[in-house]
């Protein structure tokens, strides 16, 4: 206190000097000393390099270690082709299902009041909090030979476990929060007024959905689909339990990577892995682009 008083009473010549000091002090409050800054940044970069960049580089280095021909030969193997095809089919099914489910659930949660709403929101998050292996086991319990529906399914000759339906179901279960999670906050923020306006202007329910609701959430939908797809293609645990690992039939790409690796076929394993890594990179770029669009969508409302 006394310091400040002395400062303000000092002659005008030293005034500017005092002001410069004060400015420096203010700067110091906001930024750490140079050495600390450098140390922190170095640490962060080092950590990222060792744990994120290096593994990514290793994947590609291993995949191309016998040259580019060996790489493409590994991918052209019938087993690899089958795994890629299966992964794409499963991803398409589960993304499709979750898109519909996510839209319906977030619509219900954001636009209506009903008892049990909080419970539903919690339930949507369940697949995130449960280990994927358990998610897989649930389907074994339901549809396996000893499961609840096992005998009925056998009588009607329907194959769910160790086949595409089982893998798709497990993947859908594991990925089902993504679209809903992306949309619920967005739709809650947007409220129901635009829909009310549309209806009072004479729009039908479908017209309101396709002309007002959907355009407002399209970037959110894409964002959810993108993350959902990335997870669906990369899912290992749940799929591993229900797939049965039938070569060329029920192996998805992540499962095949493990099998090939265990058989010491490093080039083949890393070739498939490199595809998954590329998927991750593309997802990352697309995510950045979408996030920019999402931010634009949040127009600041003046109240």
């Amino acid at each position: 206190m006394t310091m400040q008083i002395a400062d303000s009473m000092s002659l005008s010549a030293s005034d500017s000097k005092a002001r410069a000091h004060a400015a420096a002090a203010r700067n110091n409050l906001r930024t750490e000393p140079r050495a600390v800054r450098i140390a922190i940044i170095t640490l962060a970069v080092l950590f990222l390099t060792v744990f994120v960049v290096l593994p990514l580089v290793v994947v590609f280095a291993q995949a191309f270690s016998r040259g580019i021909l060996a790489y493409f030969a590994a991918l052209a193997e019938p087993e690899a082709m089958a795994a890629i095809k299966l992964t794409l089919i499963v991803a398409a099914i589960s993304v499709g299902l979750n898109l519909v489910f996510g839209l319906v659930a977030s619509w219900a949660i954001a636009k209506f009041e009903f008892p049990g709403k909080t419970f539903l929101i919690t339930l949507i998050d369940l697949p995130f909090s449960v280990s994927p292996v358990i998610s897989g086991l649930v389907f074994v319990l339901l549809f396996g030979a000893q499961g609840y529906f096992g005998s009925w399914l056998r009588e009607h000759d329907i194959q769910i476990l160790f086949a595409v339906p089982g893998i798709a179901l497990a993947t859908t279960f594991v990925t089902f929060p993504f679209v809903a999670r992306a949309l619920i906050p967005l739709m809650q923020e947007q409220g129901t007024q635009e829909e009310e306006a549309a209806i009072s202007l004479g729009a039908s329910g479908l017209q309101t959905f396709f002309r007002v609701t959907l355009p407002n959430i399209k970037w959110g939908v894409l964002y959810g689909v993108l993350l959902c797809n990335a997870r669906a293609m990369g899912e290992f645990g749940a799929v591993s339990v229900v797939s049965g690992h039938i070569r060329g039939e029920t192996n998805t790409m992540p499962l095949l990577v493990e099998i090939l690796y265990n058989e010491y076929q490093f080039v083949a394993a890393f070739a498939i892995a490199s595809l998954l890594a590329m998927l991750a990179l593309i997802t990352l770029i697309a995510k950045t682009v979408l996030e920019r669009h999402l931010d634009e969508g949040h127009e600041p409302r003046d109240h």
């Binding site: 635009e194 306006a197 009072s200 202007l201 004479g202 039908s204 017209q207 002309r211």
Partner: protein, 344 residues
């Protein structure tokens, strides 16, 4: 289009938003629903629009049961407080929306839609904004576009929910005048909700004052100001001095002082006396019903506002003309030119 509302009740849980409301709106009138927040005015408006449904009661348009129709069929233009413009559409498309979603059989062709939208944008004087998006407009512009959009469907009724509530004071004043002249031009039966008494008194033909889900008074702006029907209306519209008084033995008492006011026909017991600040006339000591000591005086635009400690124990604020000589410490007499007494 006349609107008639009979015995409307709407509860949210145990809270009665509307508690038996009866109202008749005449053809071509501009009616204000005025009340504090939570008085049920917005709920009433939304029920008339078909955006909410009452628990019981009737709503009729020209004698037809409106509750049998959804919001879509009622042909009601609704203007929201926060505009609710479609954010991904241009101003032009916003206004055209109501025309584009019409059933194919009655839908206008593109050229007709274009000329109608142009006409509406001219009406709200914003034709130069046709290609902008709502986020690029100011609040006042957005609200005018929202109004143009609501008018596009040639509504039978126009409902405005706190239309100027989100705007700053200056824009609000301009839009008020504009709304009144617009209504003069198009003469559609209109109801607007507001909590701003000045807005209601300035714009509307008739004012409906609501509180706690009930209608307190319906009347012309002059009526509700000069002849408030209830204590609530007196306190809510215009600023009032409220004095707790006792009535008994043919006399009115403030604290221990007997007031020189007629007590004829008043029920004995505790009551409240309401006076407008400018209706308290200042005179020499001993000249009026009240007497008090001036605490301090401030100039307030065209008037001076004095804080006066009344003998009897209350301190009030009065407005006196600027040429009246008032100084802190003066003892003055006060006579209410006009006052009302409400029991309770």
């Amino acid at each position: 289009m006349t609107i008639e509302v009979k015995n409307l009740v709407k509860k949210f849980g145990s809270f009665a938003a509307l508690d038996g409301v009866d109202l008749k709106v005449n053809d071509g009138e501009l009616l204000a629903l005025l009340g504090p927040s939570g008085s049920g005015k917005t709920t009433l408006l939304r029920i008339i629009a078909g955006l909410d449904w009452p628990d019981s009661g009737e709503v009729t348009f020209n004698g037809e049961d409106a509750l049998a129709q959804g919001a879509r069929e009622r042909h009601v233009g609704f203007v929201f407080q926060h505009y609710a413009l479609f954010r991904h559409m241009t101003v032009f498309e916003n206004v055209a929306f109501g025309l584009r979603v019409q059933p194919r059989a009655v839908r206008k062709d593109e050229a007709a839609i274009r000329s109608r939208v142009k006409e509406l944008l001219d009406l709200v004087q914003l034709d130069w904004l046709a290609d902008r998006y709502p986020s690029q407009l100011s609040g006042g512009q957005r609200q005018r576009i929202a109004l143009a959009r609501a008018l596009a469907i040639e509504p039978r009724i126009l409902l405005l929910d706190e239309p100027f509530g989100a705007l700053d004071a200056k824009v609000r004043k301009e839009l008020r005048k504009w709304l009144r002249s617009l209504h003069h031009e198009i003469h559609v039966t209109s109801i607007f909700v507001t909590h701003d008494q000045e807005e209601a008194l300035e714009v509307a033909n008739r004012v409906v004052v609501m509180d706690k889900g009930r209608i307190e008074q319906i009347g012309s702006p002059d009526d509700v100001y000069d002849n408030p029907a209830t204590a609530f209306v007196h306190g809510f519209i215009g600023e009032s001095i409220v004095l707790p008084i006792q009535i008994g033995d043919g006399a009115i008492r403030l604290g221990d002082r007997q007031l020189d006011l007629a007590a004829d026909g008043l029920a004995p017991g505790a009551s409240r006396l309401f006076v407008r600040r400018h209706d308290m006339l200042v005179g020499p000591p001993g000249s009026g019903a009240f007497e008090g000591a001036v605490q301090h005086v401030r100039n307030f635009g065209p008037v001076q506002r004095a804080e006066v400690a009344l003998s009897g124990g209350e301190t009030i604020e009065i407005d006196a003309p600027r040429d009246k000589e008032l100084r802190a410490g003066d003892t003055i007499g006060l006579n209410p030119r006009r006052y009302r007494i409400f029991a309770g």
